[in-house]
Symmetry: C2
Subunit: 227 residues, 2 copies
């Protein structure tokens, strides 16, 4: 089903993905200290593979490490979110522009088909599915469609995990879903028309809206906690 075929061949790969998911989905809380021995017992692997996993997590900014001290899961903050979405807007805008230029016709058709599927599910199940996986899938395809290796790498195995972490931990479920679907539709249309400039503009807008949406959630969140 999922578009992201991230095949774990080695043991370190699996551990990395497990730990990454556990962090993104909050089973390992933000700000937690990551003890190597503790993790190695929990995940039933040696410290070496834990260290490799942590190193990779550092590369995608999910953990921070100080030499001879240890690694901590990053903490989420409004500033961090702002900065994250700043670069996301820039990079994904560019991805959309490149996708309008470089995607093959069949890839575009598949993308349109994907949106149709989402629409059907949205009608049937009351738009619960679209939420996570659908949105993720859509953005992944655009990024892949850019055919730019650096872009793909930075976004897909870099920033996106952090984006997901923000979304998951703030409990994403809201009125944004339906409007996001329309935005996706327009973006695909621009790409199908090979209108690079419009594709970029729409994508940047789309992400800007998304940021505003999640930002208000973050404020509510901290307000609730503050009380």
């Amino acid at each position: 089903m999922s578009f992201t075929t991230e095949t774990a061949v080695t043991n370190a790969d699996k551990t990395y993905m497990q730990l990454r998911n556990d962090i993104v989905e909050g089973r390992v809380a933000a700000g937690t200290k990551l003890s190597e021995v503790e993790l190695s017992t929990n995940y039933c692997v040696s410290r070496a593979v834990i260290r490799e996993a942590i190193n990779r997590l550092m590369a995608c900014h999910l953990v921070e490490r100080k030499a001879n001290v240890g690694a901590r899961v990053v903490t989420l903050s409004p500033e961090g979110l702002e900065q994250l979405y700043q670069v996301r807007e820039s990079l994904e805008g560019m991805a959309a522009r490149l996708a309008a230029k470089n995607m093959t016709d069949t890839e575009i058709e598949n993308l349109q088909h994907l949106l149709n599927t989402h629409f059907d599910q949205q009608v049937q199940t009351g738009e619960s599915y679209y939420q996570e996986a659908g949105d993720v899938d859509f953005h992944y395809r655009i990024v892949q469609g850019s055919k730019n290796q650096h872009l793909i790498s930075v976004l897909i195995n870099g920033l996106y995990h952090l984006v997901r972490m923000y979304r998951v931990q703030l409990g994403m479920a809201g009125p944004r879903v339906t409007t996001a679907f329309d935005e996706h539709l327009h973006i695909v249309k621009a790409i199908a028309n090979r209108d690079e400039e419009l594709a970029e503009i729409l994508m940047r807008r789309h992400i800007l809206y998304s940021k505003n949406n999640i930002q208000t959630k973050l404020l509510n969140h901290s307000n609730l906690k503050g009380q």
Copy 2:
């Protein structure tokens, strides 16, 4: 002197930097297979720290690894250069815009002072210095001035090494130097005026020119080799 204070505390840090420099500056040729045992004897450290170094190099796209097979230094190609400069243009353009917004007045003054220094050296020594370190320094400061942690990380300990690799290995010395200085001057002026939009535009242009310059060199290079 150098602005980039990258302090190596642990042994793996040092090895990573050494190996990285050796790759960037061509002492380890592009496309070379990186044997872990060989490297561990060469650099007088255990395989564990070599593996960590290789992992970090993977994160900044200087080497590629296949599981159970090994790691190779990336190969330079016109497509790779194109893709690299595409994202560089986008990200550094954004960095310039953010720098115009977020740099402190004293930081801007320091930047202007830096350019003056470069100008003097250019006059005295016949612009040989400006070449490498000066340009690097300039761009580093702008990026840092953006105050965006993700941007800083992706560029400075990600793409820049690859950029340097392209430049070094194609033997950068050319007529571009002086015009680049003028471009830098205008960018700083825009930043000093807090003109975000102009700063971004000028920076994007600057990088575009730089790409064209290096691209013709790459063509000459491969032509020479082809004959």
